[in-house]
Symmetry: C3
Subunit: 433 residues, 3 copies
């Protein structure tokens, strides 16, 4: 049984913020030392296994790209002043830029600059993974003030044979059937879009690793798209074990909870998350699957069609700070992380406890009074709601209704039904299927 | 074909009121002579078979309890006046009270008294079947006026080895498949909650016993809960014959009709009752099954899951007079009983006539004009509605649509479709499946 | 691929009006030379095969009636003036009238006259196919002015052994599976109710006969009811090839589009028409099947239950001019015919192209960038909508989703999905199932 205490979560949410703070300065990409450094820091919280997949490896239709690393980058004006400096914000460099060191005219420079005219003070986050190019991202305000003829551009990066790095942690439960939780780790200094997901995944793994679990839990820390394709390619045969899955990301901001259903649309994980959101105190929205967004695109591709949904707060492209320098500590807060943590734990709680029961003797109602289950139920004094919950469980325990089914049909919350079922099992009136 | 005439129903509703009047004074419980006396009176209307099941018999998880009988009970004040007298109203005694004869302080007496503070003039109906105890029920007004120090309490009852008694009548139809109608007979002087059901069941059985029937009809007159458990225990193997079922109770008051679906939710009996209510002139409400209320709890337990719904007016706990002395002749009226009788008969009419047909030649429409079915249909002049009904029947008579299915799809009432079908059978255009 | 150009349709709609103009004067009925003359004119547009089925032939429950022909008919007043003249409007004669030549009193005449009191200037269209009788139809205004004692009535008709005539054109496609389009040709001078259907069918057949088609298309030009029964009787074994069907009629007026679903309700033809109407610019209404109206009654009879719906504008009995002399060129216009033609062509376009695809490699997304499918898709520059459409197709191409299914799930229009699919097939990412 998953026990929760809001005190714990306060502690955990502070830990999550600290982890985000530690990871924020690192320049991550889909390959390279930024990922390794990130996984090392996560490895201090939970024992993750780290995998390296060499450049050139075929993964389905894709190929592991060259490894990218960067040490420094800047634009200098004619006075030799760094007007744009990678050391100050790693978003300034177009991610996956090839090395460059030259003087360029303003006109040439402009063709390599990225800004957001509508948000003139924010630096955009842009990448050029599969198109060898170089560039800088800057605030549009600064861009408009560029008035010199010549600039010096310098990017000390490398794009070479190497490998793609990812991390994985498996928590073994009673069953080999797995609950997969996957977050992407390829974004640089962005707080909500990927650091919040990394933090929640890490501490959720840490938290449940101390519990006695029915299912196994696999946490993936992978670069987006190429990382999930790579993992699926390496673990194709294993996927039949994945019974539940969630993509974890954008869980630290103030936005309402958004659940994007799996492609299957009404898998047990979908029904569990919908149940949690419909019974929680937070604003939320349920949206149908569509083949765009995060790594659910790969897990839900037709050859796999895994029951993997996406449980976030503000999500992919749906908040103004998305993929800009404004996705920082001004929008990610401990209290929001704590709420998200709690919702994820509630989902796990349902999955862990969504048993199907049969009555030991299914004919008529049992005599509750002789068992001390009429006026009181076990240790608790029996409310009318508890009595009705008990009658519902006894009525629907026919091997065809999980507790989630019972909750959906009776309108009684999952946790009450679960507690009642436990008591009825103790009294030998029910058995797990 | 079930023929109805409102004249008959006026007579029947007077008969029902007379039966309720005859049964009202008897002190019934789940066992004892009150039930025997009741069944004897019913036996003057219809030939019921009476069963006695000995105390101590195991019936599934339950055991037939000791038999309870009562002859007298009262509370006397210091002047020797009977201030509470079982002879005046049998609700005064806590049903299943053990014998007692002693002087008690007001304080002790109070621990054995039951009242309804919100309804100070009404006597509540309370029981203590499975907890040996004694007590009295009284109006709260009277309770508040108790001002003496000592009272004399006397209950001349017995709780001894004996038996549980129930009655049963089977009306054989062409088929061994059965329609079960069950009412409980364990309540003492309460008019709507159980006497109205007994009266309707008795006269419905009497009425249809004169008809030529497709199905067999089994009427049960049983004590609530333990009675249905007992019957199911004795008839477990037989239950596969039960194709339809209704719990009959609370059918004499002014409330709207309430149909509580069977656990199966959409069985033929459910669809038939819904059809009758949606096509009748009376206010009504359809509610989903829940495992509380009357004996549908047992018939719909997972080991049986029989298609048994509950067709009532005001029902279980949903009218203020429920389980009080106010459930008397002030709320049960002939006209309400008559309406209920009519609705039950309409349901039976649908079940009896819900045939499935096939066209003798299913290709294209037959030529109606040459059979005299175009301008007129049989003896009746053909309205546009009749013509359309005929075309619907001819179109849907493919062996997959019962008349009830046809009615649901076409929006044409069941009785029109039935009459049309009969005519088409006469003209050899249709055959029963 | 069905190519459309509004210029073509302008030409076609003028052609359709011309055909209606040519056919308008002919007195058609369910048999006789009017039908033969009509089919000859249609035969100048498309190569139809003409069938003659002899009087007395049994067709299921029906018998081919005697053939009716008419040459002249009038009513003369005492001055010898023709006050009603078949030569001026063939609606004046009760269709299938037996010959008559006599003087009659006004009283006797009146028993043979048909008018529409609510529309005093319109001549009704009435028939007496299966009841040997004679009669005249006239404007109610004229009827009210009849003030002479005696009239001379003359109908030069014949009702004799002969045959029922119908026409048929089969356009062979790759598959033997057929799309059936049927119009009735039995109505005399009525523009919308049947001439518009004849015109649209003829030019639709002509138009698609030049195309390379996946399915075969069978166009029927048959008298209503007896004609479809006759055709079904002669082609009973063939019907298993009919995979789609539409009844074509009332397609020339200003009314909104009405689609009456097939008896199957949700067949592919139903879903295709609903998709076209929901994605077109015209007002429309979808109605459920009912066994009244046009020849869908026969095609959807239980022995056949073919997926045949009825796609019209104002339909059967739902416009005031229906079956009167006012159903003329004042309500049927080229622009309405053109719209109808376009809608029919869109339906055919969907049926022709509603392929089901599988991914050649269903695991994860393919790498679109390396194939030039990321920034642009084939020749067109790639909009965000196109990109999403491509991802949807790649995600749902699992062999279980036709393009129509994909469109229904994604909300993306059929034609975009079709174009995208073609491109993905070219790039060997998809295959047709």
């Amino acid at each position: 049984m998953i026990e929760k205490s809001s005190t714990d979560f306060n502690g955990i949410s502070q830990d999550m913020i600290q982890l985000i703070t530690d990871l924020y300065p690192i320049c991550r990409s889909i390959t390279g030392n930024g990922i390794r450094e990130t996984l090392n820091i996560i490895g201090k919280i939970i024992p993750i296994e780290i995998f390296e997949v060499p450049t050139g490896t075929k993964v389905f239709d894709w190929t592991i790209p060259k490894e990218w690393n960067i040490r420094d980058a800047y634009i200098k004006n004619s006075k030799g002043e760094k007007i744009v400096d990678f050391q100050k914000n790693n978003l300034h460099v177009l991610n996956y830029s090839i090395p460059v060191e030259k003087k360029v005219t303003r006109e040439e420079l402009t063709r390599h600059l990225y800004t957001i005219p509508e948000k003139p003070r924010w630096i955009p986050y842009r990448t050029t993974y599969y198109d060898e190019n170089w560039g800088f991202c800057m605030a549009h305000e600064q861009y408009q003030s560029l008035n010199e003829e010549m600039y010096e551009v310098f990017i000390d990066s490398s794009l070479e044979e190497g490998s793609l790095t990812f991390g994985e942690m498996l928590i073994k439960g009673e069953s080999e059937k797995e609950f997969l939780l996957s977050c992407h780790i390829c974004h640089p200094s962005l707080c909500n879009d990927n650091l919040s997901g990394i933090a929640l995944s890490s501490y959720l793994a840490e938290h449940i690793s101390h519990l006695s679990l029915r299912y196994s839990y696999r946490f993936l820390f992978i670069p987006g798209t190429i990382g999930s394709i790579c993992w699926l390619s390496l673990n194709k045969e294993h996927c039949s074990n994945i019974k539940y899955g969630l993509i974890v990301n954008c869980v630290g901001d103030a936005g309402k909870f958004i659940y994007k259903r799996s492609r299957q649309a009404d898998a047990e994980i979908d029904r569990a998350v919908v149940h949690v959101l419909e019974n929680c105190e937070y604003d939320h929205e349920i949206i149908d699957f569509f083949p765009y967004g995060y790594d659910e695109r790969q897990f839900c591709s037709p050859g796999f069609n895994l029951p993997v949904g996406c449980l976030s707060r503000s999500t992919h492209g749906r908040y103004p700070e998305y993929h800009t320098s404004a996705d920082n500590f001004s929008i990610v807060k401990p209290s929001f992380l704590s709420e998200s943590f709690s919702v994820y734990l509630d989902v796990i709680d349902i999955i862990e406890n969504n048993q199907t029961y049969v009555r030991t003797d299914p004919f008529c109602e049992p005599q509750l009074g002789t068992r001390g289950l009429y006026d009181k139920i076990g240790a608790r004094s029996s409310s009318q709601k508890d009595q009705l919950a008990m009658l519902w469980v006894l009525n629907l325990a026919d091997g065809n209704h999980s507790l989630l089914n019972m909750s959906e049909r009776s309108g009684i919350d999952f946790s009450t039904l679960r507690e009642i079922s436990d008591i009825l099992v103790e009294h030998h009136l029910l058995e797990k299927c």
